[in-house]
Symmetry: C2
Subunit: 681 residues, 2 copies
């Protein structure tokens, strides 16, 4: 490489190592090894605009080894994004825009939250799917609106994670030719040499997935091989590409190069100075960018931005020629719902319509919304006939049919969720995906990132309780709903009937920065007389009214019908009983205290009934009919009865509860303060 190129690469290394040194915390090693990759991407290959970071047609870049974020911040700083040197100096400090792992909502130019290994490369698969689908949808013979590459840098850790294997197998199947992965093969993980645990032939594995695979032996002295490899990767449009690049972690560090010691802690003043000396940079300066280096990057950023200017002009012509398409694209990018679209959601008429399983209600909502909301793309982890997710008129998204909106994820739950995060991050799409509720346990690592990243992914999780029956305890969720309810920024719906399901879709689709989990039953549910979409949208409401109730039953989903029957018996037996249906705790807790008290008075004996863990219910109820063990295999109705989810048992426990408080000492659960909470993300 030229002297100036080397100086640029070394500056990236030094500034990236300066950040953890200043923070006294962080990861210098990977940035120092990967600097040549970043240099080439930002100066020769990527189309981006630091003036318009959200330019829809930009090439996407994902730092899958998110701990290397000092590298990304350095690149964004050098190429004119809104990261000043003061921001670099505040690396890993509270309130900074340079946190310890990249956070998409904090920092311009960061596409997704990475850090949990393996996720970023899966997000990139989703982005490449989105690009291909949107290109098929919006491009015309005259105008290529969507035509970008998705680049990834990742390390050994990302490729050891199973989630990346899932998504990369899918990427190979789909032939996502515009995805290019630069694999930082540095032979080091936190525990030490990769030979401790990772001796597989990664290239061969990716060939098995159907990828285009190349190896670059050295990037420390010459960039020619890597440059040629990236060009070849761009040229291979039928297959995703991975380039295995041999690097040295902590390259340039006198004492830590090639060692796990360079991974997760600052180099230390002495070693960092030694590295700068080796780089030919002033040893006593921090965050130092030589003038010619900055000039070089500024020129590169200007060159990249020209592409955006050209695209803007092209898009103006496209808009003139295809005004409806352009308007539709703008609508989708803004996640704006068309006026009146939710009027088309199915609503139920008692006595006229048939009771159905709520997974059928979900299907009806998909059938109603998907034709009107072409931004909805999604599918199932190989449970399509059980999850009821293949909406009417759907066609598969496959290599030869990129216009299709139905995704065949295969038996890959974690990859599915991570891919959906990437589809959402790309923009202009609202992904949904599905499996059995219990298999949230396979993909909650990625669901958590939907919530943290404010990705409005919709999770359709059917077979939501022991009521699924014969498949038995491995398939029957107990802890799952509570494990999602206790997660920030995610809504968990468990609709009891058609109207509640419609409300779930309405709210989920309305909130583009909050993911939703829609839990649905395998078995048929009885519709509620008093349900409406509007009431269900408050999160909880009275399903059976009682004057001066002596008992309140609160339930969700399939247990609401049982409570309705029990309330009739109880009221007939002299215990006036009110039934509350609570399709969404999160929405209910957003309502005013007055509304909450009008639904759940708190000082009336309250029994919650949910065929799941009681944890979380003590907030709303004095006693619980719940699951304190795993379920059992048997016909669904019998299993429900065995565990006490019957009208008779609700009647019995309801009476026991009112008896328990017959002396009038019922503790008022609503008489509790809620302390304001500190804002976080």
């Amino acid at each position: 490489m030229s002297d100036l190129e080397l100086k640029c690469v070394n500056t990236i290394r030094a500034v990236s190592a300066d950040q953890p040194q200043a923070a006294n915390s962080g990861h210098p090693g990977a940035p120092m090894g990967c600097a040549p990759m970043a240099f080439l991407l930002w100066t020769e290959f990527m189309n981006y605009s630091s003036k318009d970071a959200k330019w829809i047609a930009r090439d996407r870049f994902v730092l899958s080894n998110g701990h290397a974020c000092a590298l990304q911040y350095t690149m964004l700083h050098l190429t004119g994004y809104k990261i000043g040197v003061e921001d670099l100096k505040k690396f890993r400090q509270l309130g900074s825009i340079t946190p310890g792992h990249p956070e998409s909502f904090l920092t311009d130019g960061v596409e997704v939250c990475t850090g949990p290994l393996g996720q970023g490369i899966c997000n990139a698969v989703g982005m490449a799917i989105a690009e291909r689908h949107l290109a098929a949808t919006f491009n015309t013979d005259d105008h290529k609106i969507f035509d970008n590459f998705t680049y990834v840098i990742c390390g050994d850790g990302c490729l050891q994670e199973g989630v990346s294997g899932e998504a990369c197998s899918l990427a190979g199947h789909l032939g996502l030719g515009k995805m290019i992965v630069l694999y930082d093969d540095n032979d080091i993980t936190i525990d030490g040499p990769t030979s401790h645990s990772f001796s597989e032939d990664v290239n061969k594995r990716y060939e098995a997935y159907g990828w285009h695979v190349q190896t670059v032996d050295d990037v420390s002295k010459d960039l020619g091989d890597l440059r040629a490899a990236i060009k070849a990767a761009q040229a291979e449009t039928n297959k995703p590409s991975i380039i295995k690049i041999k690097t040295a972690i902590g390259y340039g560090s006198p004492s830590k190069q090639g060692s796990e010691k360079a991974h997760g802690a600052p180099l230390g003043a002495e070693d960092l100075a030694g590295a700068k000396k080796f780089f030919g940079l002033p040893e006593d300066k921090s965050f130092f960018v030589p003038e010619d280096v900055q000039k070089f990057f500024t020129k590169a950023a200007e060159k990249a931005d020209k592409k955006r200017v050209e695209w803007d002009a092209n898009f103006a012509k496209y808009t003139a020629a295809n005004p409806e398409k352009a308007a539709e694209l703008s609508r989708r990018i803004a996640h704006k719902m068309p006026d009146g679209v939710f009027d088309k959601l199915p609503s139920f008429t008692i006595g006229k319509d048939k009771d159905l399983a709520s997974r059928k209600h979900s299907e009806n909502c998909l059938n109603a919304m998907c034709p009107l909301l072409p931004e909805m793309v999604g599918g199932s982890a190989d449970l399509t006939p059980s999850n009821n997710t293949r909406f009417k008129g759907a066609s598969d998204f496959q290599k030869a049919t990129p216009e299709g909106r139905y995704l065949r994820f295969g038996v890959r739950e974690h990859g599915m969720a991570a891919v959906c995060n990437g589809i959402f991050a790309y923009g202009a799409l609202r992904p949904f995906c599905a499996t059995f509720l219990t298999f949230v346990g396979y993909c909650v690592g990625a669901i958590r990132l939907s919530a943290l990243s404010k990705s409005g992914v919709i999770y359709i999780m059917t077979h939501d309780s022991i009521g699924l029956g014969e498949d038995g305890p491995t398939h029957q969720p107990i802890e799952t709903m509570e494990s999602l309810r206790c997660m920030p920024n995610i809504m968990v719906f468990r609709p009891a009937d058609s109207n509640e399901m419609a409300a779930a879709y309405k709210v989920a689709l309305s909130k583009s920065t909050t993911p939703s989990v829609i839990c649905a039953s395998r078995q048929t549910l009885k519709s509620l007389k008093l349900s409406t979409i509007e009431k269900a949208s408050t999160g909880a409401y009275v399903a059976v009214e009682a004057k001066d109730p002596k008992l309140v039953l609160v339930a969700t989903g399939s247990e609401v019908g049982i409570c309705v029957e029990a309330a009739a018996k109880l009221t007939a037996d002299g215990v006036p009983t009110q039934v509350v249906t609570m399709p969404c705790q999160e929405l209910f807790l957003e309502q005013t205290q007055e509304y909450q008290k009008s639904v759940l008075p708190g000082n009336v004996p309250t029994l919650s009934v949910e065929a799941a863990s009681p944890s979380g219910w003590h907030r709303f109820s004095h006693a619980q009919i719940a699951m304190n063990s795993f379920g059992a295999s048997g016909p669904g109705g019998e299993v429900m009865a065995h565990f006490g989810f019957t009208t008779d048992n609700v009647v019995e426990k309801g009476k026991a509860l009112t008896d328990f408080y017959k002396d009038g000492t019922v503790p008022d659960l609503s008489n509790r303060p809620v302390f304001e909470t500190v804002g976080g993300h």
Copy 2:
């Protein structure tokens, strides 16, 4: 194959299809396709004893595609295990020993709970690790005590799951030559043909993992190729083996063979009769086993049992020659702790010992226990220096050093947990494993199976809150502890100091049928004056006493120290404050109501303080200082302060809570009934 062999195979098919037909639910297709594999394993290859199903040296068999369990039940029935024809007729019925997916604790001869795809094959990796380690530990030059194979049948789904990729890459690295996988390559998944989503070259991928790979094109007419392949797999002792076997799902079904329609529903009477006709079996008989067929299997089972008889004789000689080793093995198989072993746990002396991070306390416990409990084997998912799990004197378990007890799992959390379930299922070992607490989200699918299967795996999860600091919200657990607390049969510990950590290890090691999650801090914690191992073993106790308290603070882990300081201020300010430390909710809820009330009176204003989701705390407290959002990147102390985890904020909110109830109407949280729960697993 001979006529009789074919008749045997067809009988397996018919009896396996009879079960879902009788249940009107279940999966006939995979058993019909896989019958030839099962036939060969049980009649020619496996060492097993239906008279002594738990014979420690038996070959292990794992049905990773657990939905095919009718096949396993048929084999166990035919070879004399405790499964009668009545049991087969009760397939998928409540209370039967033939549930919808195999449950190890219900059915003799079932090694592990399978059904969630991908888990079983990982369990098998753990079993093969266990066998190799125990062989290295117990075998002598004269006596081979451990020397078994581990066989797996799995389908496409298991191999699509990322978790299997993780464990199989590790298996290849470790060269687990006595693991043999029969891959049912039937080109079908639930959604339809595998070509929808799965077009990778599986054989090549397994070669990349370092496996020995073979292909068998047909098993429907001839068993010779499969027989030869299994023999070759046995002979290859340096590498795990996978044999890709082309089959037809629903083989023999006139209308459903080769279609996803044979997968998840009974064939129907007509089609089943047609299949029986094709098999040459009486069309009108169900669960029919021809006499010569039963004789054949009985003979095979007797032959297999002879190996067990020989082994018993050999083991008697071994016991005579090595009485201590034999006694030690028996102790380990029974999961009996040596007398007094827990006396060696570290206990803390205030004023003498140094305050430490609780991950250091955990390390001290491992250092104390591992030398005394050689059944403890484990490691970390590439976070050894952060999780502090490499106990003193540990050596790595590697291909060349199978006597090592430290496992280098690589960056493979889900595989790690599933492998540990397999190690536990093998017997005579107590596996532990570790990652950051937030990455429970990557492996909870397998943790759930620890709980369901009653596998006493110990999970050491460090960096247990926002207090970890700079790594930021992707690494800071919020929902994680609650998501585990609401799961049945698992204990979640969050020790506040050394004595509480010792109690966690004591309880966790004592309970071999309940997994434990031990949460530990990155940062240093202050030790408690009143802590003892005994008190901490009750799950919660008074850490700071107050006479006639006006306020109770209840906290866990790193927040207890904050509450201790706050209580001193509050008491000085005229609000006598009691502090309760609650290292384990599950243990506390097992105590008597009296004890519970003595610790948490319920009618005194109670404020819980935990840097995690408030969900679950409403049971114990009137108000919460908790996390209602994700965390933030910054120095740990600053992040804790930002979110309100400071002495001052606890004092302020404590006063606000007592103010809130100054009119005396504090609801008594202990005045609530707990309804007895129906027993499940």
